[in-house]
Symmetry: C2
């Protein structure tokens, strides 16, 4: 039975897509069967895994509205055991179109449940908002992984995100768990970054991954080649950090 | 007559709020009368200008739904001629609640028009999406300022943003202009950054500001003190860049 993890934070640019793509690829490199679901109209996870945006005919938008089956949408990637459920820009319209539908928060859950047996991990890359698409992801997921940039604005938004997770847990998904908080873009020369790390570890303790993702230019270069960083520069600090994170996610699961 | 500028980009974390707060503050330091409207449920422009989120009773959410007058919401900041129209987290609900209202795209325009005579510049800080709040901002604005991070994913999203601006111009706001594209978080040690700058200048020419905002830690520290960077460290490269940008925005207006 695969584990469904929503990668979520309404703060923009904190490393949601970078974490989804590279954690998924690192687990797939270790022979796990992994699916990435791109739920962001920007479709960055789609292009980050080498799929040209213009080439996608059927994706999460069509599947959410019931116009396509998941099997028609899911594509292969450069890694054998890593599959992608791509996004298209018309996903922006889904937020408005789903509003008046019945059980609008459950659409993604209904779509994803049948896929659970085919994968060890299913990651959902969320857009930077707390709207209907993100609520769908939180309703469909077993747990939430929160990338947190070591910056002030990102820390400020954390309580709003935790509140939304609580709301979803109480009304839509009672077993929703916190997979963990991942500190990203850490620059050791920056005092503020150290303060954010201390604050977050002090407050959330074991819920914070011990792996910290450093700011590393290879992580921002690899998407322009449509590759996860381990296929672009596996020796880089960025790639090594995500491989270490994959080990930590696996170890936590064994302990649970 | 004040000029209304929407600071907009659906890509997250590209420097929308940092640009809104620091460009507005730089113009205010030059005796211009400036209003910042926070249209993002994260309310980062609100806290970046020193207003505690919990203290805001009436803000853009209440005004958009007609439950409050602008005069009841607008507050002063540390700079005499800089005012703030604060946001609250319930702005997230506005996206859904406005969907079924009549003339839902015009709500902000109706709210902002009467304020035009009181200010020289009105800046609207947009959330990282192309939903109803951003469409409201594009409908109310005279022009759009697009902060663009010198990274691959940010460049990739530009065409989707330009399409949306075209759509709004053809159906909701025929005089919507491009104020300019601002290159942000530029790190000269990063090859990709240079490539992005060359690509964007090659493609958009005069529409790109000659001022480039460097990556500068003072810009990410100043929000934790609730101050624009010119009140935190005016000599920093970040602050100097935004003062230079303010001069460029003023010069462009004189030439127009
Ligand atoms: N550890 C890192 N070091 C350097 N650059 C990074 C790192 N993580 C992400 N980036 C870059 O920072 C930018 C933001 O990251 P990313 O797009 O993954 O964030 P996001 O949270 O998915 O953004 P959005 O809110 O728009 O969905 C991207 O250009 C990415 O390549
Ligand atoms: N030039 C810069 N140098 C260093 N840090 C910066 C710079 N500009 C912005 N930042 C920091 O980068 C982060 C993202 O910037 P900001 O929040 O302004 O982007 P945004 O586009 O408003 O994000 P969102 O999409 O969430 O609204 C913030 O933590 C900010 O302090
Ligand atoms: Mg993303
Ligand atoms: Mg912002």
């Amino acid at each position: 039975m695969g584990r469904i993890i929503a990668v979520c934070n309404q703060k923009g640019g904190v490393g949601k897509t970078t974490t989804t793509v590279n954690l998924a690829a690192s687990l797939a490199a270790g022979e796990k069967r992994v699916l990435v679901i791109d739920l962001d109209p920007q479709a960055n996870a789609t292009s980050g895994l080498g799929v040209q945006k213009g080439s996608v005919q059927l994706g999460t938008y069509q599947a959410l509205l019931g116009d396509a089956q998941p099997a028609q949408c899911i594509v292969r990637t450069a890694l054998d055991t890593l599959h992608l459920f791509p996004a298209t820009a018309d996903l922006t319209a889904a937020e408005v179109e789903l509003v008046s539908e019945l059980a609008r928060e459950m659409r993604l859950k209904r779509m994803v449940e049948p896929l659970r047996n085919h994968y060890d991990y299913i990651f959902i890359d969320c857009p930077p908002s707390l709207g209907l698409l993100t609520v769908n992801a939180l309703t469909a997921a077993d747990s939430v992984l929160i990338p947190l940039q070591c910056e002030y604005f990102a820390l400020e938004g954390l309580s709003q995100l935790i509140n939304t997770i609580e709301l979803v847990r109480s009304s839509l998904n009672t077993t929703l768990d916190l997979e963990g908080i991942l500190l990203t873009m850490f620059d050791p020369r920056n005092n503020l970054a150290h303060q954010v790390v201390d604050d977050v570890r002090g407050h959330f303790e074991k819920k914070v991954f011990s792996t910290v993702i450093p700011r590393n230019v290879r992580l921002s270069e690899s998407p322009s080649f449509g590759k996860p960083v381990l296929l672009y520069d596996i020796a880089s600090r960025g790639s090594q950090a995500y491989l270490q994170l994959a080990d930590e996610v696996l170890a936590r699961r064994e302990q649970a």
